[in-house]
């Protein structure tokens, strides 16, 4: 066994020209599991990650440090019109360094849908179960005990119970968790079992070489093969190109940049999958309801997500389903994600310790005709990517229903007031006032819409005329290019996506290895 190494941009002082069996682009939930499985098979693997190698030494539990270090676009990634805020990781470990540790296996109905409507073959509960079991063991994935549920989640638990709605406790990938509540800023005690402290170092011990601060700009193609991966090294402090280049010549290349950066890399490389790369992108668009309580909730303390409801995940025939969870609220997030300003904003924020925040994520792309958003390029340089995300009548109906139901849940749990995040917030003091929501203006940029779940854009499927990669994750038109991340989802999931990405990557590693 040869020991691998994690290199950072400051260590790369000359251009590098490297060879290996597999080059993995991206170190998040897909890339990390893939690389681990490949080195475990004895293959030589080089991983390139655009973000920095940030460890608990830097995790000072502030949003001001975390946002620029650990998130895309300094924590300010959005759709082109700024109507949807996108929280997406950018670091060694990707989203798993900053997510809220919620773990759900892929719902069977989603895998059935992918098989029946999108022609995905071989990806079933039976095929994924052994992988999920291994993943859950390594990442210590277990249900969070009710007695440790924080007040922010407890409101949801109580309200759901009073109304007789389905509720459950979330499984979390943590070990020796101190229940601090700062998962979104990187875990200061390595209790979060993200890729950064688990699968990536495991793989490095088995020979994986990681280059952090290495932004892959293009894949070089010759005939039906990718012959080189070209990366710009970035200065880890200033986060700008250092002038150094890394070229990796691999037998097989696997892209795992996530559902925005994978499509843009393919597009920069003139690989548009017949016009389908970047299409059918799904976000689980999220709407939030705030509740005020007499007692202290402290929504910034305690495990961020521990309670969920899938009561509304499968609704009427033509209605978009949604899931309900809680969202942690820290000062910077509260200030930017709220909608008012001036004295009213200051008075709102002063109540932060008494706030509870519930949200609903829309399971889009599941109904027929729901095509989602589009990721495209402004140019081939370093410009911000272009994300267009139309919201349909089904989204707006589901938003209205979800906000009303969240208000009902919060009031049932004892909220004295509930507020929407419209530009002119709807204020609700009692159940009979929930109808006020109908009078609000339900339009983009007149209410807060956010996402942390990025899916689709390189859909998998049997038919090259309808998908980008095949059922073995191979790019249809090439022999040695794979996509191994959430961008291969043909639809959204209706649950938090990390375990689905872990599972597909661990399952798909056999197909990638077979191509070497």
């Amino acid at each position: 066994m040869t020991d691998g190494r994690i290199f950072t941009g400051d260590e790369i002082t000359s251009d590098l020209d490297l060879s290996c069996d597999v080059c993995v682009v991206g170190s998040g939930s897909g890339g990390a599991w893939l690389a681990h499985e490949l080195v475990s098979r004895g293959l030589s693997v080089i991983m390139l990650e655009e973000g920095g190698y940030h460890t608990r030494r830097e995790f000072d539990l502030t949003e001001a440090t975390a946002n620029p270090n650990l998130y895309q676009d300094l924590g300010n990634r959005t759709t082109d019109d700024l109507s949807i805020n996108i929280m997406q990781g950018r670091n060694v470990g990707g989203g798993t360094t900053v997510n809220w540790c919620s773990c759900f296996r892929t719902p069977e109905r989603i895998l059935d849908l992918w098989r029946d409507r999108h022609g995905v073959e071989g990806l079933s509960v039976a095929a994924l179960t052994p992988h999920w079991e291994a993943i859950e063991e390594r990442l210590h994935i277990k249900e969070w005990p009710l007695e440790l549920v924080n007040p922010n989640n407890r409101v949801l638990w109580d309200g759901l119970g009073k109304l007789g709605y389905q509720r459950g406790l979330i499984k979390r990938n943590v070990h020796n968790c101190a229940n601090l509540g700062y998962c979104g800023m990187g875990c200061p005690i390595d209790a979060k079992q993200g890729m950064l402290v688990t699968v990536i170092p495991d793989a490095v011990e088995k020979g994986l070489t990681v280059y952090a601060n290495a932004s892959v700009r293009t894949l070089e193609r010759a005939g039906r093969r990718i012959v080189a991966v070209h990366a710009d090294v970035r200065d880890p402090v200033r986060d700008v190109p250092s002038g150094r280049k890394i070229t990796v010549r691999a037998k097989v290349t696997a892209v795992a940049g996530g559902a925005i950066n994978t499509p843009t890399l393919l597009l920069r490389s003139d690989l548009d999958g017949g016009g389908r790369v970047g299409k059918r992108t799904f976000f689980h668009p999220v709407v939030v309801m705030m509740a005020l309580f007499d007692e202290v909730i402290a929504p910034f303390r305690g495990a961020p997500q521990s309670v969920y409801s899938h009561h509304f995940l499968e609704r009427g025939k033509d209605e978009m389903g949604f899931y309900i969870e809680a969202t942690p609220v820290h000062p910077l997030t509260a200030a930017t994600a709220s909608t008012v300003w001036g004295a009213r904003h200051q008075e709102f924020l002063a109540q932060l310790p008494h706030m509870q925040a519930s949200f609903a994520g829309m399971a889009d792309g599941i109904l027929e005709g729901d095509e989602g958003g589009t990721v495209s390029l402004r140019d081939k340089g370093y410009s911000r990517v272009k994300v267009d995300y139309p919201l349909t009548e089904r989204h707006w109906e589901a938003f209205r229903t979800a906000c009303a139901e969240m208000a009902r849940i919060q009031l049932a749990a004892g909220a004295k007031k509930v507020l929407s995040l419209h530009s002119e917030p709807v204020e609700i003091d009692s159940v009979d006032q929930i109808g006020r929501l109908e009078k609000a203006t339900w339009e983009k940029l007149r209410m807060r819409i956010v996402t942390g779940h990025l899916m689709g854009g390189c859909a998998m499927g049997k038919d090259p005329a309808k998908s980008v990669v095949d059922s073995r994750l191979r790019y249809h038109e090439l022999d040695n290019l794979f996509v191994v991340d959430g961008s291969v989802f043909p639809t959204s999931l209706g649950v938090n996506p990390q375990v689905t990405i872990f599972g597909i990557a661990r399952w798909g590693a056999a197909h990638v290895a077979a191509a070497v």
Binding site: V197, W341, R384, L445
Partner: protein, 212 residues
């Protein structure tokens, strides 16, 4: 006509930003043709001691005026000057792409412009009540692009102020449990070195189930 920052942007660049953003309809283009040349000067404010990276004096004044209304002075709460909001906005812009910086600078010019906004004065010359109305006009506009512009300005101003620990007290936040952060924690990069505790090793080597 020379364009030296905030204030009258030449019509060409104004058209460009709107066209680039795909604005439907000709309303703003028409407005751009009417009055971009006739504007009064911006009301400037003292600049921070350190040189600015991105904003010029007029753009800084616009940011300062907007921040003054978004985060007004209030008893017991740090002011925007106490927390260097203008400087922080400048610093954040310095870390974005060239295209984003240019867009944001244009946006400040458009927001300041009296003519484009059918006002009698540039934003920085308005009184506070008028300034609030001007902000509200963009926030509530039927033109999506103006709501987008408002969103961009609001986000960067709020982030600049509320990223500072001095802002926490007023929101009832006592700060993070800093004792859990070890700024001297070892950084492991492999190469044959043993993995330190943490970094996944502590939990991997432990026997049994320590619970969450």
């Amino acid at each position: 006509m020379k364009h030296d920052g905030v204030g009258p942007a030449p019509p060409n660049s104004t058209r460009r930003i709107f066209l680039k953003r795909g604005l439907a309809g000709g309303l703003l283009l028409a407005l751009g043709g009417v009055g971009f040349f006739a504007t009064r000067r911006s009301k400037l404010v003292p600049l921070p001691k350190d040189p600015l990276q991105t904003l010029d004096a007029r753009e800084y004044a616009v940011v300062h005026a907007i921040a003054s209304r978004m985060i007004p002075s209030r008893h017991g709460v740090p002011t925007i000057d106490d927390l260097d909001v203008g400087k922080t906005v400048d610093h954040i812009l310095g870390r974005t792409t060239d295209a984003d910086r240019k867009d944001f600078k244009r946006l400040l010019g458009l927001f300041e412009s009296a003519a484009l906004n059918l006002r009698t004065s540039p934003f920085t010359q308005l009184d506070p009540v008028e300034q609030d109305a001007a902000l509200r006009a963009w926030q509530d506009s039927d033109i999506t692009l103006l709501r987008t512009g408002f969103q961009a300005i609001r986000t960067i101003v709020m982030a600049s102020y509320y990223s500072r620990p001095e802002s926490w007290k007023a929101v009832g936040y006592g700060g993070p449990p800093v004792s859990f952060h070890d700024k001297d924690a070892p950084v492991w990069k492999g190469g044959g070195a043993p993995r330190p505790p943490g970094n996944g090793v502590m939990s991997r080597d432990e026997e049994g189930d320590a619970g969450p």
